[in-house]
């Protein structure tokens, strides 16, 4: 190959020597440029390395700072976590509390509903009782009037056809109707006692008693009864109801001392702790303590009507009235040795 070509370092070199040297020089020239370029590059790299070192420092410091921060945040995190836990606990508690409250609320609502239902039932029962007693007071008496009136008509219109026995029987019929009429009136009065609304005020018990005794004296002016009433006895209660209770107690004492030649009736009071205890004492026929529990039952009597008249409603009335005041009533006595009736009233009804 005369014009052979070899390739060295990217240069196509002719094989002949003249052009070969020229080519070498060219190559060397190229190298020199390359060297400068390399040096520049090296310098640039060096600069870069230097910069990198500074950067490395900065990075390290940053890293350190980051680590510190991370350490701090770990502590913070722990704190936050415990706080979060506490918050959760509180929330849990609140939830339980809320549930409890809801349950209580629920129970309260139910209780209120229940109470309302009971009140309505009570009101309905009261209303029914009112209708009932209204009907009793109107309708039960009418047939009695017929029995009594026509018995009387028989006695008057057929005197020649009725012998003494016949007239006597008709009188018995009439007495029966009379008694039944009294019983009806007493039942009505008793049922009215529990229905009337109470109005609390300060009541002068002594004055009520004085006026009740005055009424009894007017009704039986011939009776000699020594009455002693402790003055200025006061009580908190419904004036009208307490008056009825006292009238009943004193009328009882009056009635059951009827055979006592030196009849004595006493009204007084004593204190039993917070409770004011009033008493009505008499020296009448008294009663056997065996039957003390029967005394206050409605229509219960310890005497026959021929011994002492009455329907057996008086003490039941007294008991009902005292109980409506939140008080208590009881009795002591012995046969032919008089009786004492006590009633206790809470001293501060309004407070």
């Amino acid at each position: 190959m005369s014009a052979g070509i070899t390739t060295i370092a990217g240069h196509d070199l002719p094989i002949d020597s003249g052009s070969y040297a020229k080519a070498i020089l060219n190559i060397l020239g190229d190298f020199s440029e390359e060297k400068i370029r390399l040096r520049n590059t090296q310098k640039a790299i060096q600069n870069i390395l230097e910069d990198a070192e500074t950067e490395k420092f900065r990075l390290k410091a940053t890293q350190k700072a980051l680590l510190n921060i991370m350490e701090d945040s770990a502590v913070e995190k722990a704190r936050l976590e415990s706080m979060q836990k506490a918050t959760f606990n509180i929330l849990d508690d609140l939830k339980t509390e809320k549930n409890n409250a809801e349950r209580t609320n629920h129970e309260l609502v139910r209780e209120i509903a229940e109470r309302k239902r009971m009140e309505e039932a009570l009101e309905a029962a009261n209303k029914e009782l009112e209708v009932f007693s209204y009907s009793v007071s109107h309708d039960l008496r009418a047939p009695l009037r017929a029995i009594d009136g026509f018995s009387q008509a028989l006695i008057e219109d057929y005197p020649d056809r009725l012998d003494e026995q016949g007239r006597y029987y008709l009188e018995r019929v009439r007495a029966g109707t009379q008694r039944m009429a009294e019983l009806i009136d007493d039942i009505l009065q008793l049922s009215r006692l529990t229905r009337t609304e109470m109005r609390f005020e300060t009541v002068d018990i002594s004055m009520l008693a004085e006026s009740a005794i005055a009424d009894l004296r007017r009704a039986e002016p011939l009776r000699q009864v020594e009455v002693s009433i402790q003055p200025d006895l006061m009580a908190e209660g419904d004036h009208n109801l307490l008056r009825i209770a006292l009238v009943n107690l004193l009328a009882n004492a009056w009635k059951f001392t009827g055979r006592q030649p030196e009849a004595r009736i006493e009204l007084g009071a004593m204190c039993d702790g917070d409770v004011r205890v009033f008493f009505v004492r008499d020296n009448g026929v008294g009663f056997d303590m065996t039957y003390v529990n029967k005394l206050f039952g409605a229509f219960q009597r310890l005497h026959t009507t021929s011994e002492f008249p009455g329907t057996g409603i008086g003490l039941a009335t007294v008991q009902r009235i005292i109980r409506r005041h939140g008080g208590r009533v009881w009795a002591e006595g012995a046969v032919n040795q008089g009786a004492t009736f006590y009633f206790a009233l809470p001293s501060n009804q309004n407070a």
């Binding site: 209204y134 007071s137 109107h138 309708d139 008496r141 009418a142 047939p143 009695l144 009037r145 017929a146 009594d148 009136g149 026509f150 018995s151 009387q152 008509a153 009439r174 109707t177 009379q178 039944m180 009429a181």
Partner: protein
């Protein structure tokens, strides 16, 4: 002098008979017209056959009556110019407070509870007759509108 009528408003035949007997026993000779329920009582005054010149000396009014109650009758009588001054005595079985209060509130002239005991009833009717048929003075016929 012509005796004025008594209007007895009473649904119970026993009470009617006993009231008539009590009037007779007391020598009260006035004519008695009986209305056996509240509507009959109202018809007596306001019905198509009502003779409005009839002014009973007194109306004896029971409260518990079929159809129209005694208190409703009273209310109608007091609400009408022609019967506003008509004497009305409530004569009934009960002395329930509400009846007495309502009776007077509606303008009853009197309220009497029929006693069970016939002797007492007789006495009540005697006094009633004496008061309303003899003692009491009413505006004359000409004074009525």
């Amino acid at each position: 002098m012509e005796l004025k009528t008594i209007l007895l408003v009473e649904d119970n035949p026993d009470d009617e008979a006993l009231t008539l007997r009590a009037l007779k026993k007391n020598n009260i000779a006035n004519e008695v017209t009986v209305a056996r329920d509240g509507q009959e009582a109202l018809d007596y005054f306001f019905g198509t056959n009502a003779a409005m010149n009839l002014t009973p000396a007194v109306v004896l009014l029971d409260l518990k009556l079929p159809k129209v109650s005694g208190l409703d009758v009273l209310q109608r009588l007091r609400g009408d110019e022609r019967t506003r001054t008509q004497p009305v005595v409530i004569l009934t079985s009960s002395k329930e407070e509400q009846d007495i209060v309502n009776g007077y509130r509606l303008g009853a002239n009197s309220y009497i509870r029929k006693p069970v005991n016939f002797d007492q009833f007789l006495e009540a009717v005697r006094q009633l007759g004496l008061y309303w048929l003899v003692l009491n003075e009413m505006p004359g016929q000409g004074g009525r509108p």
